[in-house]
């Protein structure tokens, strides 16, 4: 009697498709996690062995950081204004209005500053990295690096990851500041709450740890975005269509990773 795979023998088993789907997704996640782990190890080795060009890191800091400032600032200002307006609308007549200062500051610093900045960078930086490396793979530029005895991890991957870890906390700190200032002005214009009352409310519930929390998120996001983008770029197959497909998947994975790790932060750091 010959062996038959369960799917061929009885595809109508209840829940079989679901189990199979979960298994397939789990395997994909495990394989990708393993590959990202190996890539991380290679990046650490290249960095520790000083094989990463300082000029390349500076160039990536310029591309990922300086060039992202305008869009990050616009996003932060709008987030501050919206939070302030909605808070003002809900608090009027119910809670002392100075509490609005605390709501705006805590919302921006704990959540909106780091997460919105990271989401913006997924689109502006992460997608760019995946598309750039994917194009290099399909046009054999990666093979060319290998054939010339050069290490693409040291040349292409490490500078981007190092720059991401440096740039994200700085951008988040700037976004936090701009978001709070925008929220403060919006509170004065729409709810009549002056800056002194705004900051009085903000100080009531402020902990210095909140800034550590915010910047810790930024470091994790700054590591995750380039790492996933590079990994996905290196997996690209199949010409221009492959680059497009991989870039879309990378944006999805980076966004999901940010949101999932964001959900893991409160139980880990706010207890």
């Amino acid at each position: 009697m010959s062996f038959q795979a369960p799917a061929e023998r009885d595809p109508a088993i209840p829940g079989y498709g679901l189990v199979r789907g979960v298994g397939r997704v789990s395997r994909t996640v495990a394989v990708n996690a393993g590959q990202i782990g190996m890539l991380s190890w290679d990046i650490i080795l290249a960095t520790v062995q000083l094989r990463v060009s300082f000029r390349a890191v500076l160039r990536q800091i310029y591309i990922m950081g300086i060039q992202s400032i305008p869009i990050v600032m616009v996003t932060a200002v709008l987030a501050g204004i919206v939070t302030s307006q909605q808070g003002g609308y809900q608090f009027t007549g119910a809670i002392p209005l100075y509490v609005l200062g605390s709501v705006v500051v805590e919302s921006i610093v704990l959540e909106m500053g780091p997460v919105l900045t990271a989401i913006v960078l997924v689109g502006r930086v992460g997608a760019r990295i995946t598309a750039e490396l994917g194009t290099m793979v399909v046009s054999e530029q990666l093979d060319a690096y290998h054939s010339l005895g050069r290490d693409p991890v040291a040349i292409l991957a490490a500078p981007r990851v190092i720059a991401g870890i440096i740039v994200l906390p700085v951008l988040v700190a700037m976004a936090n500041l701009m978001g709070i200032l925008a929220g403060m002005y919006a509170a004065e214009l729409t709810a009549g709450l002056g800056p002194e009352s705004f900051f009085y409310g903000a100080r009531l519930f402020w902990h210095s740890w909140d800034m550590v929390y915010s910047l810790s998120k930024a470091v994790v996001f700054g590591l995750a975005i380039p790492l996933i983008a590079i990994h996905m770029g290196l997996q690209t197959k199949g010409g221009a269509a492959g680059v497009g497909r991989t870039t879309t998947q990378a944006v999805m994975f980076m966004t999901l990773t940010i949101l999932i790790s964001d959900a893991l932060f409160p139980p880990l750091m706010l207890q």
Binding site: Q141, H146, L148, G149
Partner: protein
Amino acid sequence: MIEYRNVAKAFDHPVLDGVSLTVETAEMFGLFGPSGTGKSVLLKTTIGLITPDRGDVRVDGISAFHGENDDLRKVRSKVGYVFQNAALFDSLNVYENVEMGISEEELAQLNRMDISRRIWDALELVNLEPRVVLSKLPSELSGGMKKRVGIARAIVGRPEILLWDEPTTGLDPVNTAAVEMLIARLTKELNTTSMIVTHDIEGGLEMCDRVALLDQGKLRFCGTPADFRTSDDEMVKAFIDRAAAEAALNLASV
């Protein structure tokens, strides 16, 4: 000398199936075959860009797969690889692209002047005017110029072996002839061992000392161009007929 010993590789389906052949030192060797039959895969196994599932490839006796940790680097330092579409680095200009062909060890030893002279000489060898192209990005070059810069990058490190992956694909007949003349001249002037994968059968037969035909991952023919032309093998005959038809078509298009 390059030795392929029983090399096998499969992706979704078998691509190479036990290929064994030897390319002698200072020989110009041509590899023919239909598309998807494993020619480029065989070439890439030479410098470890693709790892064979079975068998071994040795360059001057050194195996990139079964040797010491440093052997892959040694193999790559002996070989210059010309990619099908040049594979120039988009973000680097011509000078920086060609400079990548010089090993990191050599770059550390040479001064700026010597490096510039090496790059200048390599560009002149491939009939490019260094003054005009040095600061250009790959996107500012024509297809033929990109191929030449790719060749300059491969030869600037003074390799003992040159591997050419379809160097004339995508070029018009005039540029094809020019690049083939360049390949023949460089092989002679630099005294290198050359292995060329090409669809231009007539050009390959003109240039090469020996040729081989791959079909469905197996070696179908290996011998001199004269033997290839007079072979009784049906596959070889079909190839020669196709070459004649393509040559006529190219002549008409010119």
